[in-house]
Symmetry: D2
Subunit: 335 residues, 4 copies
């Protein structure tokens, strides 16, 4: 099966390499990017046939069955629409868009054209989080009562990035909103958010927050809480906990090794993995295998278009809650 | 130093035994309780001189320097007032009262009579939590950004108890509100609470909740979150985490032993301590040693009257937040 | 039930305090020691009636049912013999003696007089080790294949002590030999020992080793290994592991608290308990409760005289193995 | 840099795939194996140019700079000799041979021809073990006193394999002997071995043992102990511990995820990785990168020919110790 790759920045290149080395059922035939500096060499090293500045060469190629959209966020919705019309199956990086109407239009087009769309919520494929979901599915914790998500970045991104990021909730918490839905098996009904600036004055000046606690009320009656920070100096801190009437399941961070040094001074062990590409490497591999498998088996992938839409509702509710200081229902953004 | 014990129920007896066996500087001279069945024998086994139905015999005894108030909650404030007037130093079980005015009156009387008052927030003396506070004090996590408290009981109390308990926030979360102040080193400014009934219909029928997530905004700018459940089937779940700009400190539950059994089926270890008297045993010993030491060294104990008042403000704010669905400032209850 | 305490050094005093505070079924009536400086005050503080320099006052007291022998090791065997003849039940600190004949004579006298004798192998009552034994008994690891014991002291004792200690194997490893029998449920057939001096030249000069690895061959076919050091600078290191055809059970050290501090520098947690009295405190309590219970229920205690003899055989075999450089059968010392 | 692959069984194929996907500096040009069923397809999928039954086609190819020898053990020494004469650098799977003379001849030929030889002791590159070595090198545990290695297979190999394996010490413990040298930074002087059959009668019938404890005396004065079992039903059990005068470093097994499920029944977590290819995957990648880097940088690789020889001395000493029941010096096999 031949795929096209649209967008060859850091994450696009990662996807290209994973398809080549770790997804035996698929190959990248063509890669497109507006910036092609050094791209030819990179493509050659992976055996990718063709490099182009124009993604339409991918959409027009009848040999290509699916596309991986890894371009900048503002192009996602339009590329989904064009790809769907060109009858290409789509793997699209999150977020689809910040605008609900645009997402809906994209999803409608996908539906009308009967193609498959997978959203790049890679954390669902993480070895720890997927195991939690599995145990929840098996009713090992019984009915879910409380979902707790700790999600802290090791260091804040450049403030230039912050400015176009859509804000903490749409940029960073969006992953946690998806995780909350994934782990609870329920939609989010209401949101209350506390947010503040404790990390960086620059982020405050850019109009964004860097520290937050977000409460969730789920449709099934469960409660949830997410805490975020843009800077956890000890590394990437990504833990979840699901508590129910039959028990609780927790997961820890990943560590580069398990060495524990006990001396007269202290007992010292390794810090968590620092970089998200390290921490989530295998989840990127697994999500692209899922995409290839779904296409080959002609079935829906496990993360579909609606999974790109729902977290945006939650993020918008969180944003309004932060502004108004009151809890906000997600339904407000759904009509 | 001779002390009097007022109230000899489960917790009163525990205090009596701890004073006798683990606080070498002090002895119980007299114990009073309205129910004296079997009390004589218990007192004798500990070498306590006198058993009475009338606590005034303790207050009138000039040899007795301090009292331990472990009677029912509704008597605490009045007993503090009478004891203070009788110039006895006071160790009083939490909560002082549910009524802010009564607490204030009690604290005022304590002040006017120049006596010492320690509130029984035993968890401050717990080996895990006190270590967290120590590390926070030493600025090991830097400025505090986020305080997280997990506090779940192994099983709900009888509904008859629930009915007179003052409700989840005043009965159970009150400990966590104290812990939030203790760990953050800051007062709580605003509270938002989500609460629901997922454990027991009986508790709902009694007008109380059994599951809650409570958000805190601290005066120093930090954020906090507490989650509560009346039923954690795997045992007493008491963990905290303090996150700051220089790091994070976490503590785990206590376990009866560290045995890990790995078999073809699974890797299995012990459940957390089930019973609060097991879990917090040493903290009860340490808080009474602190009381005795404070008296002997003529200094304020580390948990004073105001520590009995502040959590009530927070609990009342949480209660109102639950009722109104909006965040509530603690200052509202302070005038 | 009244007991007499013979020997009031550090460990004797500990036993006296435990009986008074933690063994409700028993009290110490009389304490004897050749040094009585300050002993009167100590006894008074515990409500012990009588202090004497002559242990015979204990043996002659018909009200006293049992004795706790906590005097110096060289007096143990004789005191057992005299106590047995005086029809007192006996709790005796380990080791009974370094001389097999003397131990046998003591055990014979015990037998002839039909009294109960418990040896002070307190570690059998430790929360971790007793749980391992329990799991082994329940066949959770199946047939035992390998027993591993890590046993390292935090700091070497004074060399004066070393000189009269009987040597590493009889002084320190004796506990581990008992543990090996306890955990495997089998006697030891053969021993091979590597020993050396890596900690202290003074210990070498005193003719003893400070570091050792001792291999065991059990009667039931299992293998065992103990490693010892007189100095683990990070604290008292006491761990065991039992491996069998159905699984493995391991235990960890005990720690003063579970706080984990993650910072930009490292992830740091507490060192193990340093002092054996801290580490094994509850095991001392539990062994004396077992002694009192065995007497009251008129049954054999769980650690009997033979448990004092067998480890000496193993220690002697280890000693000879170290000297000869060859494995040595324990049967050699048993005739 | 072009390499040739000699031997394309399970481990040979693994090496081929790793070179292709994870060693960017090198490619496999030619693969040879006596069995070529399906090999053509496998080679094509990796872009390997040539498949042959005759490894001489690799040795004769002047474009090929190095070879990876992954054929059966009995061919290793001869292939090293031929490759060295053909001036090819060599990566050779362990063990080089069971015969000391043959190994020496191979190493001599390597030396005479001035080529580089790396032995496939992949565990040295494992994230846990390499971290232990790093900490030992940095003197974080001070002078090494005790090295402990736990090494247990999840399930015994087929008895047909056992028969030609060279026995437990040369087949399985050989890795641990290498690890002992690696972690201690010292050669082994003397060995004492206890071995027995607790796992399988078939293995006994084949003249091999399945359970062992092996003691080591190092040249630098440290002591060591290895325990082996052919069957750990809970998974692949690979842990080490290095204890010294400044502290101890331990590592744990690797687990598929960190999920911990606490319920009313128990606290349950995942079993260790079961399969050695899972457990040591990254170590295979890292050892081949080391090989490629050593060639490109024209330096000795970190695991050289002597590292293939020393463990055989230790294994032969262990074998003799098992047979004679006495400790055996490694020097006996070195003349």
């Amino acid at each position: 099966m031949k795929l096209g790759l649209i967008g060859a920045g850091r994450i696009g290149k990662l996807h290209g390499e994973i398809i080549t080395y770790h997804v035996p059922q698929a190959t990248i035939k063509t890669v497109s990017d507006v910036y092609t500096d050094g791209l030819e060499e990179w493509a050659q090293s992976l055996g990718i046939e063709k490099v182009t500045k124009d993604y339409r060469e991918i959409l027009d190629d009848s040999e290509i069955e699916g596309v991986i959209i890894a371009s900048s966020t503002d192009t996602h919705a339009d590329l989904i629409i064009e790809s769907a019309k060109a009858k290409k199956h789509i793997f699209c990086e999150k977020p689809v868009d910040f605008n609900v109407e645009k997402i809906k239009e994209a999803l409608d087009t996908v539906k009308q054209n009967g193609i498959k769309l997978q959203i790049g919520f890679n954390r669902r494929f993480d070895h720890n989080f997927s195991r939690v979901r599995e145990l929840v599915d098996q009713k090992k914790v019984g009915d879910v009562h409380i979902v707790k998500i700790t999600s802290r970045d090791p260091a804040p991104p450049p403030v230039e990035y912050i400015k176009v990021s859509g804000g903490l909730f749409l940029d960073m918490t969006i992953h946690d909103f998806d995780m909350a839905r994934f782990l609870s098996g329920s939609e989010v009904e209401e949101v209350f958010a506390y947010g503040t600036n404790l990390v960086s004055d620059e982020i405050a000046a850019a109009g964004d927050i860097d520290t937050a606690i977000i409460n969730l009320k789920f449709k099934n009656g469960a409660l949830g809480v997410i805490d975020n920070s843009r800077e956890a100096v000890y590394g990437y801190d990504q833990r979840v906990e699901v508590f129910g009437n039959k028990g609780v399941v927790t997961v820890d961070n990943d560590f580069p090794n398990s060495a524990v040094l006990s001396s007269a001074d202290a007992v010292v062990s390794e810090k968590p993995q620092w970089f998200f590409l390290e921490r989530y490497k295998m989840s990127y591999v697994d999500e692209l295998n899922e995409f290839a498998s779904a296409l080959l088996e002609d079935r829906e992938p496990s993360v579909v278009g609606n999974d790109g839409l729902q977290p945006v509702y939650i993020a918008l509710a969180a944003k309004e809650s932060l502004e108004t200081g009151a809890p906000v229902k997600t339904s407000k953004f759904m009509k």
